[in-house]
Symmetry: C2
Subunit: 555 residues, 2 copies
């Protein structure tokens, strides 16, 4: 082996659902040539990341080794796999490889950042194998909830790795590649060192269901509905869009797409030949003059996103279109954990308008894009690897998946973000722990998750903010009284007098008694003013606010 | 009828799940004598109510009519029905009526506010009927997920109302009253004008299941588990606590209760005779010396609450007890929509420790306390009212429930918070719209939901906060430069220079050119400084922050 090693290092997606980014390397320690698999994003929430626009993996480790990166490989065009390419490409500079549809989406993202589209290379699927330094790599078509998803076969001098990407076993996916058992078996027959495998649905114990299985249900439903019909699903689920639009069309309805993502995805699918026969769509402008019983809206916002078409329609109006009593709204989607409040808010707003809401009815109008536990076990059987590395999942998913592997006689290894695994020998071992984390896109700036900026926002939201200003004159004496402004706090406390007056009074009292030594030292003075402010607020309003003290000294 | 009327007015709980508060009245318009049913709370979240401690119904309407209130009736001891009694009793002053267990809990809450316990009167259930002004009222025992829940039979000169309270149809509830079909039929046989009925589970189409049905499953599970076993459920579900503790005890484990609510509920159940034979419990101190395979912890925090015992155990340690590999943690509970993130965080922390997590497994280890749709329909059949008023539910629940009523030939009426319904005639009609809302308990102060305080907190959390201070000298000229402090914003923007410098520079430039007319007017000056700050921030960091300007004028 001459001291060379094969490593696997997740930088995102292992210990969370979303923000996928995995690294494979081969070579002498600290000289490995690298392949990056996926550059995804995850989405902020008010609980932990208020005000943040997007969450990207922290790729500092890669940036320091950018000269060693052979390629960035994108398995499929979901945001949690491709969403960061535009934001991070310039830091890596390596060519981006993807299949046709994924490449189309990746180029659109790069274009928004003014990056030339030709950094993305469209690749053909297996049996074509690409030479990437010490690796040979092929794209294995696989079924998922977006067209042209790919697993990867990665050959290194230390053996073959099969990386599933996100997948399900679906032989009738409506659009895109059916799962090809023979192909996966062929790739695996010469022996696989490690299967790096999607874990998202490991807790779903039911048999997986095909995308085609819900087409009939949707068709039947579409035939029954009166008034205007609106449906929402993930914009990237081209098969679902096709099923929904075609069944609406057959029911005599014109199809109108609302939401930028929805239009963009259909556009990409048509451009790349994924879709050939999507029903003709009408513009929102034209839709307004179509009788509502002949209209079907296919809209973004299945997760209750506040600015999406679904939320705006529920809230009142979108592109001149409004919903009313007798209309129907179908969620052909599942609510991702954490998004319940937003989705429920929309459902209630629709209910208030008299719109009938139909949810997925326990799976009648939606199927998942990920392999359930029985399908994961089938994948294990097909590939029959020496080692199973659970990938894409929270800790509980990875652990459960590794337990399944162990129970089947495979070596399961739980590798979370930052845990570099050496796969060279017969047993996987932890080679190193890399510092990883999250980078926040905040407005136009990238900030670190640990910079304290978001922590300060959360503190202001929980505790309110008091500003104390004080002017010290040329002689070092306070000029007048300190001045307080409050934000996010009650104006009147339990004494029924203005909080501001109480604060200014207590601060004024302190200053009258303060020694010259205190007054001369900004740090001490600031600390004292802050402490008094918090103490007075606690007694008046039962809360200790954040306090910013500004001391101006006249020269 | 001599111009008298029978009214129903929800002030909380109708259009939401939680914060129940319903008013019944009888008399001449604006002179009705009133009964208040339930005084509940709901819980804040970071999305809409950061920093708030508790949410109470806005009872201004009642406070203005406090001399007309005959009684405050509490149907059962869940927080969303009894939680506000301590906070609001003094504003109403009317006697509180409840059955024994509920009265015990209500008195504890009043005691915390220094209110004498004797304002709560313990009442016996039907057939005892209380005289409350123009009403006669009786408490109808009903099965729910807490002992001694009650529906109400309310007789007025305009007819009989049956108010279900929260309920399920459970003939074997383990602890507390089994559902007594004959009792409800007897009460209904002389004719019921209106059934005011729980709607929480209207979308659950499966047959309801009894609390007793999971006892066997829990018993079986408890026999299998190794290591320390921890279970969490709602502290108020005494039946579940009993099932869990007894099965653990039979499996040779000592029972330890962790969390104040858990201990308090068991205490109340023992005091009131609801529980007679709960296993002996050990203190956390003693638990530490018990071998882990002989220990069972029953803990608060099934909803992922950050400060509860479950979260603290998952995070590290609670009362000297720690979890480790080989232990098991059972969620004998369902996650309430909106609490998913918190629960999942705990599950992952436990997974990281190697603790096996068992959730309700699709109902194996948990049953709901509310009537599913088939049981609601059974209640409709038993009571056979003239009018059905869906109660306790979001808009979508109330609407669906009213639709069921309509389909069965009952008159269903969707009445949301603030909608006063006149039930006197043959058809319900909207008598008036009352302004209702929410009151936030924020530290020690009650604030209005519309006061703008929480809105400001949310804005600071989303946008950050910039403080601008400026001193104007005796001549009306700026003294030195304006000074900026930032909080919750990146220190360095896209130009790679400190944001603070950019802001101070742009503000300084403006001041140099500002006219005397501008400088003399605080409002204009403040507006200009705010605008410039926001514009500069937008260009440097892509975000428009909240801005507070403080102008000090030297006299």
């Amino acid at each position: 082996m001459s001291g060379e090693r094969l490593i696997y290092l997740p930088l995102g997606g292992a210990g969370e659902i979303g923000m996928n980014c995995y690294v494979y390397g081969y070579g002498k320690p600290d000289q490995e040539r690298l392949i990056v698999v996926d550059l995804g994003v995850t989405f902020p929430d008010m609980d932990t990341t208020p005000g943040v626009d997007l969450i990207l993996p922290d790729i500092s480790w890669l940036v320091e080794r950018r000269d060693r990166i052979e390629a960035v490989v994108i398995t499929h065009a979901h945001e949690d796999h491709v969403g960061a390419v535009g934001h991070l490409y310039n830091k890596l500079g390596a060519p981006i490889l993807a299949r046709t549809f994924t490449a189309n989406i990746a180029r659109r993202k790069l274009d928004e950042h003014g990056i030339p589209k030709d950094v993305v290379q469209t690749v053909s699927p297996y049996p074509e194998m690409l030479d990437l330094g010490p690796f040979k790599m092929g794209f294995l078509p696989v079924s998922h909830s977006i067209p042209e998803s790919a697993g990867l076969v990665i050959d290194s001098p230390a053996g073959r790795i099969v990386h599933t990407g996100d997948f399900k076993i679906d032989e009738t996916p409506v659009v895109g590649d059916p799962f090809d058992r023979d192909l996966w078996a062929e790739v695996s027959k010469s022996g696989v060192k490690a299967l790096v495998c999607d874990s998202t649905n490991v807790f779903s114990i039911a048999e997986g269901r095909s995308e085609a299985s819900i087409a009939y249900e949707i068709e039947a439903l579409m035939g029954e509905m009166k008034g205007m019909v609106v449906a929402t699903t993930f914009a990237s689920n081209i098969a679902r869009l096709k099923t929904l639009a075609e069944s609406a069309s057959r029911a005599g309805r014109s199809v109108c797409l609302l939401g930028r993502a929805m239009r963009r995805m259909i556009e990409a699918a048509l451009e790349t030949g994924i879709l050939t026969d999507f029903p003709k769509v009408v513009s929102p402008e034209d839709a307004k003059s179509i009788p509502r019983e002949n209209l079907f809206l296919l809209v973004t916002g299945s997760q209750g996103e506040r600015r999406a078409a679904s939320a705006q329609l529920a809230n009142g109006k979108y592109m001149g279109l409004t919903l009313k009593e007798g209309d129907t709204f179908l969620f052909s989607s599942k609510t991702i954990p954490g998004n319940e409040r937003g989705v429920i808010r929309i459902m209630n707003q629709l209910s208030e308008k008299g719109v009938d809401v139909i949810d997925d009815h326990g799976g009648r109008y939606h199927v998942s894009g990920h392999a359930n536990r029985p399908d994961l076990e089938e994948m294990h059987r097909i590939v029959n690897p020496q080692i199973l590395v659970p990938m894409h999942g929270e800790h509980r998913h990875l652990r459960e998946h590794a337990k399944i592997a162990d129970s089947k006689g495979l070596q399961g290894v739980v590798a979370v973000n930052g845990m570099m695994i050496d796969l060279t020998g017969n047993e996987p071992r932890v080679a190193e722990y890399i510092e990883t984390g999250r980078t926040y896109l905040d407005g136009s700036v990238k900030i670190g998750a640990m910079d304290g900026i978001v922590r300060d926002r959360i503190r202001m939201a929980l505790n309110g903010h008091v500003l104390v200003t004080l002017i010290i004159d040329e002689d070092g004496s306070p000029l007048g009284e300190p001045w307080c402004e409050i934000m996010g706090l009650p104006e009147v406390g339990t004494s029924n007098a203005p909080l501001q007056d109480f604060l200014e009074n207590d601060l004024g009292q302190f200053l009258m008694r303060a020694s010259d030594k205190t007054l001369i030292d900004d740090a001490t003075l600031e600390k004292e003013l802050r402490t008094i402010t918090r103490r007075t607020a606690q007694s008046e309003i039962g809360k200790k606010p954040e306090v910013t003290v500004i001391i101006s000294r006249l020269a």
